[in-house]
């Protein structure tokens, strides 16, 4: 059996007396699309920070493609999309993408930059400063930046936050395309509808622990909603 794209092995994370994660374990196979569901403060962002290698767990271990997430080779295979842009407002879209393409040492960078700008429908605004973009356009450029180096593993932290319907639709289409291309995707979201539409599997985090790990195909979305999203169960807010 091939090495999983991601293995999370009994990780815990504390910030002083504040517990963020407690004994979290799961794995994600290459090409799988997994959604992590949980209410604010459940530990989803902390989990993604640990997986991406920018934060270390207090206990436990994470393996990306069988090795440490902070390995440079792993970082080159990874992309993160979150509510943070990872873009410079005082540079144009082209300048931002050319900067990242040099950092990631992308061959045929000019062509690749044009391709991703076209994918997110921003070619017409490529010479404008990012500071002049709307929230939706900025998020589209954030996606273009993340896909620039054709990552094997995409980590998405609440990527739909603050987007209009058009931008949400575009992001969903792009994610479906990435899934078809065989990329491994890990998404944290509050949006159960989107999670069930896109994912193969879902993991529910509540009170810093995993309380459910199941296949979307085997589960009735209404049952997930009833069991984990209802206010009566102390589950996730919709």
């Amino acid at each position: 059996m091939s090495v999983p794209a991601l293995e999370v092995l009994a990780i815990s994370k504390d910030f002083g007396r504040i517990i963020a994660l407690r004994g979290v374990s799961f794995s994600v196979q290459s090409g799988e699309f997994v959604s992590i569901l949980g209410r604010n403060g459940a530990g989803k962002t902390t989990l993604l920070n640990i997986i991406s290698g920018i934060s270390r767990p207090s206990e436990g271990e994470v393996k990306l493609f069988g090795t440490d997430p902070s390995d440079r080779e792993n970082k080159a295979k990874l992309a993160v999309i979150s509510h943070e842009m990872f873009l410079y407002g005082n540079l144009t879209a082209i300048e931002n993408l050319e900067y990242y393409s040099r950092i990631y040492n992308i061959p045929n960078a000019k062509q690749r930059v044009e391709t991703v700008l076209n994918d997110v429908e921003l070619t017409h605004r490529r010479f404008d400063l990012v500071a002049t973009y709307s929230r939706g356009m900025t998020q589209r450029l954030t996606i273009a930046r993340a896909l620039l180096h054709e990552p094997s593993l995409l980590l998405l932290d609440e990527p739909f936050t603050g987007l209009d319907q058009h931008a949400i639709g575009m992001l969903i289409t792009l994610l479906k395309k990435q899934k078809e291309m065989g990329r491994t995707i890990l998404l944290t979201t509050h949006d159960l509808h989107t999670a069930t539409e896109l994912s193969d599997r879902y993991v529910v985090i509540s009170k810093h622990k995993i309380v459910k790990d199941g296949l979307i195909a085997d589960t009735n979305p209404d049952a997930i909603r009833e069991k984990f999203f209802s206010a009566d169960t102390g589950g996730i807010d919709l």
């Binding site: 920018i54 440079r72 792993n74 943070e84 990872f86 410079y88 900067y99 040099r102």
Partner: protein, 223 residues
């Protein structure tokens, strides 16, 4: 290997030339220092030669603090500091890029403010003043090599500017004191035998600060 450092340097300089935010603020701040001191104290030329080197470095260092704060504040905006931590590159390369951008911006500011300083304090230009070039270079490099890494530490905190001052001043003080002494020698035209050994000492500190910062920068980027 230097690809990352050069990319960061080019990006930072492009943003600075576009906004001129740091250089302009540093220049205005230094001008204010010179104006206030010039019109507040009516002192003889001899006394002025005594205090001018210190004044020049006060202007450089306080304005430089602004430049340092600005350098990583730009990275913190929009989460770019996290983006740096995610880059598949050696943290030392990121440090080198940031160090050169801060140093170049500071040297450009020094080149712009120095003529104003000469005019305000009625100093005589002479060939001997070229000795100031290695002094300013060595002093500035010491200040920015340490300032760059400490600025990256401080940017993670709420009181970034206070923390940077608290961390930087005790460590960089020897370099600043020696640079003031060296500048005083050049401006007064009394370059003694102690000049080059002292300049070498500043240079040695520069090398130590730069090397240590280069090696430690990977740890700074982690949360």
């Amino acid at each position: 290997m230097m690809r990352t450092a050069i990319s960061i340097l080019k990006k930072d300089l492009r943003m600075e030339f576009r906004s001129k935010e740091s250089i302009l603020a540093m220049w205005i701040f230094s001008l204010l220092i010179f104006v206030i001191f010039n019109f507040t104290f009516e002192v003889s030329r001899l006394v002025m030669l005594e205090i001018a080197p210190g004044l020049l470095w006060v202007a450089f260092v306080f304005s430089g603090m602004f430049g340092l704060n600005q350098s990583f504040a730009l990275e913190k905006e929009n989460g770019n500091l996290r983006a740096m931590a995610l880059m598949p590159v050696d943290g030392g390369q990121i440090y080198v890029g940031k160090f050169f951008s801060v140093t170049i911006i500071m040297l450009m500011f020094e080149a712009l403010i120095f003529p104003i300083f000469i005019i305000f304090y009625d100093l005589q230009l002479s060939l001997g003043m070229f000795r100031l070039i290695p002094v300013l270079l060595a002093g500035t490099i010491g200040f920015t090599s340490l300032g760059t890494i400490l600025s990256a530490v401080a940017v993670h905190t709420r009181n970034q500017q206070i923390l940077l001052s608290l961390l930087l001043w005790p460590l960089v003080s020897p370099i600043i004191i020696w640079s003031v002494t060296l500048t005083g020698m050049v401006l007064s035209g009394e370059v003694t035998e102690a000049f080059y050994p002292l300049l070498l000492r500043v240079g040695a500190f520069d090398v130590i600060f730069f090397t240590l910062s280069y090696m430690l920068f990977d740890f700074i980027l982690e949360d």
